[in-house]
């Protein structure tokens, strides 16, 4: 098994709260987390947000419980799509996408789910947990996504808040498991507050309730998340621009690098 990862800690404008949540994630034994920036295109002109650099949040990153290493913080973008036009923003060449380590999509319709599984260049497809599953999961797109190395995400924090949401979370994930057979699933918190987080072993156990086997459930908070992160890295490099970074270059240098070379220059290819 690989280290424990929570791929979804909700970004909030309250930096203190975000910091606190990440600290608790480290305390619970997560070695890596991703701060999740969500965009919905409901309001006409929803702009992309630039992720907050990690060193804006922490001078020194919190140490993971029981280890000597600090937590690793990634940035993730989730785009909620209810219209095919919005998928254009998810092109790999989009300058915004490049700022994120992981890209996820929450498709609202069966057609968009199909598109996401078969063609979109994303790492994660989110499963709705806040309402009744609006469409059937069908085998071809689900298998297609698995073949392309894309993972399905189930968020558990809603299930701790309200019994209706709990029912949706469990029943939607059970329907997914019927089709994907426990393959390519990641479980993440979607937490905005420290008390919405649960420990990795708790989630590995909770996975059984979502229809996963013992092994698949533990993989859903470790090995599978590692695969998502790797998928994100290859997506970044495979988009036409060769992505190089000196081995001992610090994150800070990288940030400056991005400022000095205008993004448009990179986009041309």
């Amino acid at each position: 098994m690989a280290v424990f990862v929570d791929l979804n800690i909700r970004q909030t404008s309250d930096k203190n709260l975000l910091r606190k949540t990440i600290e608790i994630a480290a305390h619970l034994g997560y070695s890596t987390i991703a701060v999740n920036y969500v965009i919905e295109f409901q309001d006409k002109k929803q702009n992309f947000i630039k992720p907050i650099p990690v060193n804006d949040l922490f001078n020194s990153l919190p140490i993971v419980q029981g280890k000597s290493k600090p937590i690793r913080v990634l940035n993730r973008l989730t785009v909620v799509v209810s219209d095919a036009v919005q998928c254009i923003e998810l092109r790999a060449t989009s300058p915004h996408i490049r700022l994120y380590d992981i890209v996820a999509v929450l498709p609202k319709t069966e057609k968009l789910f199909h598109t996401a599984c078969m063609t979109l260049d994303v790492d994660i497809i989110c499963i709705t947990v806040t309402e009744k599953q609006p469409f059937h999961f069908r085998r071809p797109p689900v298998s297609g996504a698995i073949e392309r190395g894309i993972f399905f995400e189930i968020i558990y924090s809603h299930a701790t808040k309200d019994s209706t949401m709990r029912r949706y979370t469990i029943s939607n994930s059970l329907s997914l498991m019927q089709i994907c057979k426990g393959k390519n699933v990641v479980l993440s918190s979607g937490a905005e507050k420290p008390l919405e987080l649960r420990g990795p072993y708790d989630i590995a156990n909770l996975g059984l309730l979502f229809g996963l086997s013992e092994g698949d459930a533990k993989a859903a908070v470790s090995t599978n998340c590692r695969a998502v992160i790797l998928h994100g890295e290859t997506r970044k490099t495979a988009m036409g621009v060769v992505y190089t970074m000196k081995k001992n270059q610090t994150l800070l240098d990288k940030e400056e690098d991005e400022v000095t070379h205008p993004l448009s220059k990179r986009m041309k290819t």
Binding site: L195, E196, L197
Partner: protein, 127 residues
């Protein structure tokens, strides 16, 4: 389930029994967390009642009826040791995980250790 071998040596005293899943119980070392500024206090009975209600929320009347013991409870830290039957482990654990509030204040159960051996709870090198 136990297999048994007897070595008929001179002393005739050696005996070995292997129990596979011999323990009927699992033990959980847990604690309950609230927001830092909470004024909530729980006594041991309220604590157990909270766990029963979390079981009821998730598994209904059958869940509320699952027998389990609070072997130890520390009021100041809201930490406890539970004993549950093996067949109920997944249910009790997931009910604890999904509990999100008490008296409309947010809370979370933290599970420090789970073991089929009570004796293992005192010698955990991970804590």
């Amino acid at each position: 389930m136990a297999c048994h071998e007897r070595m008929e040596d001179d002393s005739g005293k050696y005996e070995r029994i292997v129990h596979k899943n011999g323990s009927s119980y699992h033990y959980l070392k847990i604690s309950l967390e609230f927001e830092e500024d909470t004024s909530i206090r729980l006594n041991s009975a309220q604590f157990k009642q909270l766990i029963i209600s979390s079981l009821k929320q998730l598994f209904g009347e059958i869940g509320a009826a699952l027998p389990f013991d609070v072997l130890q409870f520390e009021e100041n830290t809201l930490s406890a040791v539970l004993r549950v039957y093996n067949r109920d482990l997944v249910k009790v654990w997931s009910a604890l995980t999904l509990l999100g509030s008490y008296q409309s204040e947010m809370c979370a159960f933290r599970v420090q250790q789970v073991s089929p051996f009570l004796l293992a709870l005192c010698g955990n090198s991970r804590t």
